[in-house]
């Protein structure tokens, strides 16, 4: 399966809605509007010639400087027969970070989306159990966003009786 074949298939189905095809270190990467993410994932998974049935990875990235496209959700899919990998990226603004969940399509996505929600605050619409997974429930911020610095190593106001440094 060549990149051109995948691009052709996607173009035939979605036309100009999929764009920015580029090969980054052997992985075909492309962008799409966030409303289309489920349609594209379903198409990639269920078209017999493509059958990207394996969701390798799902994560989010924060670009605070690109206004209106601050959060990127990226899906890495793989065809297990041909070992071909493709990466889909969708962007969303940080004010309303709503992206449709892929957890009904791939069970893998369940916890990965919870992780992306936990650290970036991406709201996966339709996810059945979108709650924090690593951090405490009381946390009121999303720690992997760029505006949150690491803890100041010189701070002195902390009670370090238990976790002294």
């Amino acid at each position: 399966m060549t990149n051109d074949f995948i691009i052709e298939k996607l173009k035939a189905e979605f036309g100009e809605e999929v764009y920015n095809f580029v090969e980054l270190y052997d992985i075909l990467t492309f962008n799409a509007d966030k409303e289309l993410n489920l349609k594209i994932l379903t198409f990639l998974k269920e078209t017999p010639d493509l059958s990207f049935t394996f969701l390798n990875d799902l994560t989010a990235i924060h670009y605070p400087d690109s206004v209106g496209k601050e959060l990127c959700v990226t899906y890495l899919l793989q065809n297990l027969q041909t070992r071909k990998r493709v990466r889909l990226k969708v962007y969303t603004e940080i004010k309303e970070p709503d992206v449709y969940t892929a957890s009904a399509l791939f069970s893998t996505a369940n916890w990965l989306e919870r992780e992306a929600y936990d650290f970036f605050g991406v709201n996966f619409v339709g996810h059945e159990n979108l709650i924090r997974i690593m951090n405490v429930d009381e946390m009121d911020y999303f720690p992997l966003r760029k505006e949150f610095p690491l803890e100041d190593q010189t701070r002195i106001d902390k009670d370090d009786e238990m976790f002294g440094r």
Partner: protein, 409 residues
């Protein structure tokens, strides 16, 4: 962190059942049978599991955030602490990711040396996992016996890099030093004496009636569900899917080696055990091939010629201007790294360990995401143990080779 479980608690049981309602039990977070910090809130009907809710995150250490604040060469220590049963694989995986980004070509000898340490780590990882299945089925002997050989592997690591568990082995561009003679001798010794012990270990468990009764059918999963859940590594191969990164996306010259990918059929605990045992034999054969392949190569080469990334000899730093500049730039994390994003995966001890690295050309990664295999496949645990006995849950958990450090990152 805590799942909402209120609605699932104390489910009424039908008329005529011994108990009126199911009862809730915490398996973990600190329980001797979980081998790590895992909490499962189980709903039990007698001894049968009605539902399970796993809770993760107890030892979350924010590796992805920390990695965004560290120069590239300092991230190796974070990878150590993912799957700490086979840290050299994680270390090498990280070095290879940066090398892929910076387009560094390694000499064959270095790649074969990496193959040797990665396969040793895989043997150690599989030994721990398989012998722990034995422990959970009541056979402590095998566990104590093979730990002697894991110890031999750790001694080899000690000769190579100075540490045993969290190895921090290798550098971007190669190894920090050549393998000393002691390491080669210990490796030869290990290869000589280990097969006999491995055979004994297999004799102890593989056709053992008690072990087979406890593991066959326990925690089975179909290939289709396993793929949907993102299983990788021995757990996926036990279901019959021959997906192995070493063969499907070869790295570090794995394409030069001749090895088989063992697969199972039913995806139950017994198959996972068999696949791991078969992989240990394959790993041994790979190590033997690597030693043969290394023999004719120049024995002084242990790193690539990349002064931008690889620290110069300390002696040269005092004598040569260039070495001093490179030394300073590397230590201060000011090496020039290309912009770009790269995904590199290696076959870890328990599955596909992926590194998704986005570099903006700065001194630290812009974003680094670890694809941790056991975080992904642990999701399937409730489905795998539903309807099983409590004791099956324990065996299933140990056969999945869950490592808390990797699960929680």
């Amino acid at each position: 962190m805590i799942e909402s479980i209120e609605s699932k608690n104390n489910i009424p049981l039908p008329e005529g059942a011994i108990n009126k309602k199911t009862y809730t039990m915490n398996l973990g977070p600190t329980h001797p049978a979980t081998h790590g910090v895992f909490q499962n809130i189980l709903e039990l009907d007698g001894e049968r599991i009605v539902s399970a809710v796993p809770t993760v995150g107890y030892i979350h250490r924010a590796f992805e955030k920390l990695a965004e604040h560290r120069p590239f060469y300092q991230i190796t220590t974070l990878t150590d602490r993912l799957n700490y049963c086979s840290s050299p694989i994680n270390n090498m995986g990280w070095h290879m990711t940066v090398e892929k980004l910076a387009k560094i070509e390694l000499p064959k000898r270095v790649e074969y040396m990496r193959v040797i340490v990665m396969e040793l780590a895989r043997i150690a990882d599989h030994l721990v996992c398989n012998s722990v299945i034995g422990v959970d089925t009541g056979a402590l002997t095998g566990f104590v016996y093979v730990f002697e050989f894991r110890e031999l592997i750790y001694e080899i690591f000690e000769e190579i890099c100075g540490s045993r568990l969290t190895t921090n082995m290798g550098r971007i561009g190669g190894f920090e030093r050549n393998f000393p003679d002691a390491a080669w001798n210990k490796l030869d010794n290990f290869i000589k004496i280990f097969p006999k012990a491995m055979k004994e270990f297999e004799t102890l468990l593989t056709r053992n009636k008690i072990f087979m009764d406890r593991t066959i059918g326990a925690g089975a999963i179909s290939a289709e569900r396993a793929i949907n859940y993102g299983f990788t590594g021995p757990n996926l191969r036990a279901t019959g899917v021959d997906y192995d990164i070493r063969a499907s996306h070869p790295y570090s010259s794995y394409e030069d080696f001749d090895f088989e990918i063992p697969v199972g059929a039913t995806g139950d605990t017994y198959d996972r055990y068999l696949v791991r045992n078969a992989e240990i034999w394959q790993s041994l054969s790979i190590i033997e091939q690597a030693i043969e392949k290394i023999a004719p190569l120049d024995p002084t080469i242990f790193h690539a010629d990349v002064p931008d990334f690889y620290l110069p000899e300390k002696e040269d730093v005092y004598k040569s201007m260039e070495a001093l500049i490179y030394h300073f730039k590397i230590v201060m994390g000011e090496t020039e790294i290309p912009t770009g994003e790269v995904y590199h995966s290696v076959e870890g001890g328990n599955g596909e360990l992926g590194f998704y690295l986005i570099s903006d050309g700065g001194r630290t990664p812009y974003r680094l995401h670890f694809r941790r295999p056991c975080f992904i496949y642990y999701q399937a645990f409730p489905e795998m143990i539903q309807g099983a006995m409590l004791s099956d849950a324990v065996v299933t958990m140990s056969s999945l080779n869950l490592i808390a450090g990797e699960l929680d990152a």
